[in-house]
């Protein structure tokens, strides 16, 4: 059980670090959003899963009630993280496109053309 928790912890820390690297190495907003949001969400879920596995192990070993409380609360935090990160990244990408920020090597903007053709909200 401890080895499983350690493997989860390692995966999570590595992905958090990769998210930090992605924030610095990518050229524009959309690629940064892509790399960073996915990596930090994945890494945070895995470090939290390590906490869940470790506290379940401690509960089965010692039988103290506070470890089940910790497990349930961490699972709730993981669910909140899942929902809020995906929605927030979508909102950021939409706001970036509507405020006129284009990708760095972009030649055409098909989304804005589509909006203009439909007569809806222009980008």
């Amino acid at each position: 059980m401890e080895k499983v928790a350690l493997i989860f912890l390692s995966i999570g820390v590595v992905f958090n670090f990769l998210g930090t690297v992605a924030l610095y190495r990518f050229p524009d907003v959309y690629t940064r959003l892509h790399g960073t949001t996915k990596c930090t969400t994945f890494g945070s879920i895995f470090t939290s899963a390590a906490v869940v596995v470790f506290s379940l192990d401690m509960y089965f070993r010692t039988g103290e009630g506070r470890f089940t409380t910790l497990t349930v609360h961490v699972i709730i935090a993981i669910l909140a993280l899942l929902i809020s990160n995906a929605t927030g990244a979508h909102a950021i990408a939409r706001a970036a496109h509507r405020s006129g920020v284009l990708p760095k090597y972009a030649v055409v903007d098909r989304l804005a053309e589509d909006h203009r053709k439909k007569g809806g909200v222009s980008a």
Partner: protein
Amino acid sequence: MMITYFAWAAMITGICALVMVGRLVAGPTIPDRIVALDSINTMVVALMILLSLVYDSVVMVDVAIVYAALSFVGTMFIARHLEGGV
């Protein structure tokens, strides 16, 4: 023994969150800064969950849940403001 590994992971996560502040300061456009802020919030939530195990206090996880919800509201509000809604 195992707690030590969790403390090391919390330290690395905190250092990553500190390094992200550089993009928050030097981002060329405003959406860059929002991306950095959102990532910092995620890292702080992960850091709080790890530290709740290290310092053996369940209250920190509750703080992390509320922090995640509030950071979500903040991100959505800045995004709406940027696209001209608010």
